[in-house]
């Protein structure tokens, strides 16, 4: 349960309220992560929160990449951490996306806002082992064009011909020539081979539900739609009880679960 000490060695501003931190271990590193897993990140004296690992799983070093959006005390402290700041890290925890479930299949990545952070390792995994997968489609939405994470990388992705990228914003701004609307709009019209598609969806809960329902209507099986759940987390290891969603301890049984499992749970108000 003791955190490992990591030092901030890089800080990239992504949006007005989000940064990507590069963290390097001061002593022992945590074990290697799987795409979709998270750590409990501790800001000295302020608190500890769950943050997904957004780095490239194919790079073998002990550094961690994590993207933090400042929304409250702890995330603000981590967001503001300057290079040289020491933070605590526990993990990696939870069941991830398991990209291998999509081997020999079309991969559809659907991200809303900071939901792209835990999905970035999926995209990078597919790109690193491109031959194992069929088509790779990434649909990412943001409120405004300035709120996309990883904008340089998105440019690189959009230039590739082995990846189809669809970006959409809720509110267009000057100079935006792309799509306007929710991610469900491209999902409803994209050419899909539903039975051979595995979808990985992350974003605000309503966005995940609408996206999953759209994909279900298009014929993607519920157990081929994977979503990442968010619940209050204090321990990350199945002992504090906070992250329950019905039968699930989200930190232990998730955060990534099949929509076949999640649909009935998310349909009950205040479960």
């Amino acid at each position: 349960m003791l955190p490992a000490r990591y030092v901030v060695t890089g800080r990239t501003v992504e949006t007005a309220d989000s940064v990507t931190l590069r963290l390097e271990p001061l002593e022992r590193p945590i074990p290697r992560f799987q795409p979709g897993q998270f750590t409990m990140l501790y800001a000295r004296g302020v608190g500890e929160i769950a943050v997904s690992i957004s780095g490239d799983p194919s790079v073998v070093d002990s550094a961690l990449t994590q993207t933090v959006r400042a929304v409250g005390a702890v995330s603000r402290a981590l967001h503001d951490a300057k290079p040289g700041t020491v933070v605590g890290v526990r993990g990696p925890y939870g069941v991830g996306w398991q990209p291998s479930l999509a081997w020999e299949r079309d991969v559809l990545v659907v991200a809303g806002g900071v939901g792209l952070a835990p999905l970035r390792p999926v995209v990078l995994t597919v790109l690193a082992q491109r031959w194992r997968y069929r088509r790779l489609i990434v649909v990412a939405g943001a409120r405004t064009p300035r709120e996309f994470l990883y904008s340089d990388e998105l440019k690189w992705w959009s230039s590739r011909d082995d990846l189809a990228l669809e970006l959409t914003v809720d509110h267009a701004a000057d100079g935006w020539t792309g799509q306007v609307g929710f991610v469900t709009q491209p999902l409803a019209r994209l050419p899909l081979d539903p039975a051979a598609t595995t979808a990985f969806v992350c974003g605000p809960e309503p966005m995940m539900r609408f996206s999953a329902e759209t994909l279900l209507r298009r014929g993607v099986p519920a157990d081929r739609i994977r979503i990442s759940l968010e619940r209050n987390m204090k321990c990350g290891i199945g002992q504090c009880g906070h992250c329950q969603l019905g039968p699930l301890l989200v930190c232990r049984d998730g955060p990534v679960v099949d929509y076949a499992r999640a649909a009935e749970l998310l349909s009950v108000r205040e479960l």
């Binding site: 349960m1 000490r5 000295r44 605590g88 619940r231 329950q244 009950v268």
Partner: protein
């Protein structure tokens, strides 16, 4: 099996202390039987009984000198294996350091079947922390809120004890039947002046414990509770409970298996030294399910549903068993007397189409 008198029990406590244990047992404090350090028989609540009803707990003088015939009190052994508040670690510029453990091994004196089962449940959730030495007691006199017979956790104690006692008060006097359940138990028992029990004595005790199963004040409906709670997610009855429930969280605090915690970070003024503390939390707190932007469970109905559904239903999914051991504490310590067995019966009635008033 062996038998010994009150002096033997005193020897037993002293043997445990001499063996390096901190012995915890029932004691009368103010108007309740609490659990605290004991050093001998004189500390035990001789002749005190308890009268319980929904929302009610009263001590009374018994007509005898029984030591262990009082139903579950406001505390449970949980507080010793899973303390209400503890330091997890502290940190300075040189790193993180775990809070030191209390080295002394605990010995619990007077653990009822329900509470022995609860210790097992808690251990399976939290992982093996240090295991206490357990002197269990069989129950021959269930209380008005007990329903361990219907949860399969009593009135006789199940496996997991080091020593099991049955308290006997008869024309031969006040004595105990003792059974060792572990090598440690045999070793401690060997330090006690005792005699072999006769076959009649053993049979008599067994008869009384078995009869106790038929005198439980309550009963959990014999249904597949996991299925019932699953089927009841959208039940109207949650709104009915919510009209009575004060969402005070008392039930979760007194429950011997509720394990939920939250954490708290403290720093000194300079910020150089920080500590992380853990303390009990309750699913009845609105903040319990807080996510940036608001809590998931705000209505009282949803919070009571979480409590009951976790306890009796989803505990099976998460940990492979029920989270309720039938001790009745949540009924006694609920300020408005909400009765878990009655609420289950009402949910079952709603599912089958008959409405009943609780």
């Amino acid at each position: 099996m062996d038998a010994f008198g009150l002096d033997g029990l005193d020897e037993l406590v002293r043997a445990l202390i001499a063996d390096g244990h901190r012995v915890i047992g029932p004691r009368r404090r103010d108007d309740a039987i609490v659990l605290d350090d004991v050093t001998g028989v004189a500390d035990l609540p001789s002749g005190w009984g308890v009268e319980v009803a929904p929302g009610r707990y009263r001590l009374h003088r018994r007509g005898d000198d029984a030591l262990f015939r009082h139903s579950a009190g406001p505390q449970s052994w949980k507080r010793f294996v899973h303390p209400p508040r503890r330091k997890l670690w502290e940190t300075t510029d040189v790193g993180f350091a775990a809070a030191p453990d209390d080295e002394r091994r605990l010995a619990f004196l007077g653990v009822r079947g329900c509470d022995l089962a609860a210790l097992g449940v808690l251990g399976r959730v939290l992982g093996a922390r240090s295991r206490p030495f357990i002197v269990a007691v069989d129950c021959t006199e269930p209380g008005g809120l007990c329903f361990c017979a219907s949860t399969g956790t009593g009135p006789s104690v199940g496996p997991g004890y080091d020593l099991a006692l049955t308290e006997r008060l008869d024309d031969t006097g006040h004595w105990f039947l003792a059974d060792a359940g572990s090598e440690d138990g045999e070793r401690i028992l060997a330090a006690v002046t005792r005699r072999p029990a006769t076959a009649d004595e053993v049979a008599g005790a067994l008869r009384d414990v078995t009869a106790a199963a038929g005198r439980m004040g309550r009963q959990m409906p014999a249904l597949d509770l996991r299925q019932l709670l699953h089927d009841s997610r959208q039940a109207q009855h949650w709104n009915d409970v919510a009209e009575r429930c004060l969402t005070c969280g008392n039930c979760t605090m007194v429950c011997p298996t509720c394990f939920c915690t939250t954490t708290e970070d403290v720093t000194d003024l300079t910020g150089d030294h920080a500590e992380r503390w853990e303390h009990w939390a309750s699913c009845f707190e609105v903040d319990f399910s807080y996510l940036h932007g608001g809590s998931v469970r705000t209505s009282a109905a949803s919070r009571y549903r979480q409590w009951l559904s976790h306890k009796l239903g989803t505990w099976h999914d998460q940990f492979g068993e029920s989270g309720c051991v039938g001790c009745g504490r949540c009924i006694a310590w609920c300020p408005v007397g909400i009765d878990i067995t009655a609420e289950v019966a009402a949910l079952a009635a709603e599912r089958s189409g008959d409405d009943v008033d609780v």
